[in-house]
């Protein structure tokens, strides 16, 4: 064994020393599928932001005499049951999916990290109590709770007599085309997995020597958490969060498909797929654009998540 170790450096190509982050970035950039996915996601974000400038039509404008128009120079991907341009609606659909991906992931990561770090760092009774609560939430069927919340929000918004903070939320939700409540419903339970991972990470680092060293030179809890724990804990959490993003996108599409998603006429791929499915027998082209867009987006986030996981976990790398 010792002989092998001595012999090894001669055969290895020269390798610069890199920080773990730089190393992970390097590994990620070697992964062709992940790089393509990053490119695709950047394009998606740009389309979502600049949708107004890319699209030839207003996403809500009906052209009733052109209903179910086939793809043509005017309607690139055809028109739907109300004669609305499918290309335009697909591009605007990226807004919903990208916002859900970004915001649900940020909320889940934020709450999960804080909860997990507090629980793991404080330990003892508090930890016990906080984790029992997470266990209870774990027992709830997520889909049912999300549907319950969406039905609740929609009923509140419809009743229209809400005042104070409710009134503000409902108004904000309306101006976002119904997206705010989707963020809340999806974010409400999806942080619990993250909290467990963050706590586990904190527990594994808390007793390490470098933390003790920091404490012995008089570092306070804030400094220990932010300077020493967080940088170590956050890597695996970001990887895990990226792996969850496809789930958020699919959950939003599911809600929209069953009519509990964004408010009409805001376009969401889930609603468009539902409409396309309704017209499948006679006008299958209506389904194509949103179905391809949803699949490619989920695919890209899956490849990115896998790439990140492999980059951060050297054990899974090809030897």
């Amino acid at each position: 064994m010792a002989a092998m170790e001595r012999a090894a450096p001669a055969e290895l190509p020269e390798r610069k020393e890199r920080s773990p982050w730089a190393d992970a970035t390097y590994q990620l950039m070697q992964n062709r599928l992940a790089v393509i996915s990053i490119g695709f996601i950047i394009i998606l974000v740009l389309l979502a932001v600049f949708a107004d400038f890319v699209t030839p039509f207003d996403f809500a404008k009906n052209h009733l005499k052109d209903n179910y128009a086939l793809p043509s120079a005017t309607y690139w991907f055809g028109a739907d049951n109300l004669g609305r341009d499918i290309f335009t609606r697909t591009i605007y659909g990226t807004r919903v999916s990208v916002s859900v991906a970004v915001i649900a992931a940020t909320v889940s990561l934020g709450i999960g990290l804080i909860y997990g770090i507090v629980s793991g760092y404080l330990g003892g009774r508090v930890d016990e109590l906080m984790m029992r609560f997470v266990d209870f939430l774990y027992g709830l069927p997520i889909i049912i709770v999300v549907i319950l919340m969406q039905v609740f929000f929609k009923a509140m918004a419809r009743s229209g007599n809400a005042v104070g903070i409710w009134g503000g939320l409902i108004a904000l939700n309306k101006s976002l085309g119904g997206m705010l409540f989707i963020f809340i419903a999806i974010g409400a339970l999806n942080w619990i997995g993250m909290a467990r991972i963050a706590r586990g990470q904190v527990l594994s680092y808390k007793e390490k020597e470098f933390i003790e060293a920091a404490r012995s030179v008089g570092a306070g809890p804030t400094r220990i958490v932010f300077r020493h724990l967080l940088p170590n804990v956050i890597g695996p959490c970001i990887v895990q969060e990226t792996l969850q993003i496809p789930g958020y996108i699919l959950l939003e599409a599911f809600l929209s498909f069953i009519g509990l998603g964004v408010d009409a006429p805001t376009p969401s791929w889930g609603i468009m797929i539902q409409e396309g499915y309704q017209a499948l027998r006679s006008y299958p082209h209506v389904l194509v654009a949103p179905a391809v867009a949803l699949t490619l987006t989920v695919l890209a986030f899956n490849f990115l998540g896998d790439g990140l996981r492999d980059a951060f976990d050297p054990r899974l790398r090809g030897v």
Binding site: P141, I144, I147, V151, A253, Y277, L280, L294, L316, G318
Partner: protein, 338 residues
Amino acid sequence: MIQYVIRRVLWSIPVLLLLTLSVFLLMRAIPGGPFDFAGEKLLPQSVRQNLQRKYHLDEPIEIQFVRYLVGDFVDTHDIRDFGKDGLLRGDLGLSLRQRGRSVNDILGDSFPISAQLGILSMLLAIIIGIPAGIFAALKQNTWIDYSSTFVAVLGVSIPNMVMGPLLIWLFALKFHWFPVATWGAKPPFLLGFLPTPTAKFWLHAVLPVLSLGTALSASIARLTRASLLQVIREDYIRTARAKGLRESVVVARHALKNSLIPVVTVLGPLFAAVVTGTFIIEQIFGIPGMGKHFVTSIGNRDYTLIQGATLVYAVLLVIANLMVDITYAWLDPRIRYD
């Protein structure tokens, strides 16, 4: 082991009660009630009040919950009535929206259909997924591994709402090989849940089982591959190889069992979820399964139906997780439950 199982079952009772109470309260927190509309028409106040009285919805909420649990015992205080018409004797009550039908009836008709679809899909997923995952792991970093991993990622990325219509369009509308929709078996079922295995049943089952099963098999394949790759690097595998065992024996007898532990962990909850119905697949293929009740009964404020459906799901989840734990002990003899 038996003691462990009994303890787990006893523990699940308060958990299930807490879950039932949560759904019970959450449903009643949503504005609106089950009797607001008849079709599209708003019901008059007096009719609504009568209906609420009939279904005891005018009582204080804690009495309502106790009545849901113990039934008529609330009124009669006769110990022989304890639990009669109540959850404690397995009576899930009357549906508030499907007049004259009990929740037990509704779920008794729809759950077997979802279970048939779900079990067939799970079988397909396991038969394809586990061997594919093993194969990819054994050929790690070859083109076989890359292409099967790629296909698996593609499989988990195609949503059911895309896969279903795609299969219908291709195999039902273009080629006319399979029927477009509906399920090929109706209640009453043999033993309450078995379909008559006619040609009609199988023809109708192919497309929905394929759309559900392929997605599941892709995620099982990914999981199996990752897990086997981790196990194969363990010291005891090196020992087995050092003993001079053939690679096939090393994998089959030493690596495989342990690598299945994470797979089984996921299969349990997945089974409970799939068997109680997938709304999208049932909707797309027009299958009268249980999945739709989870969605429509919340929108309809059919309190008893959503409570019953959630409870069936939760009970199955408890059973599935118990099976998972028992399987652990079989897969890994180091795991003991005392």
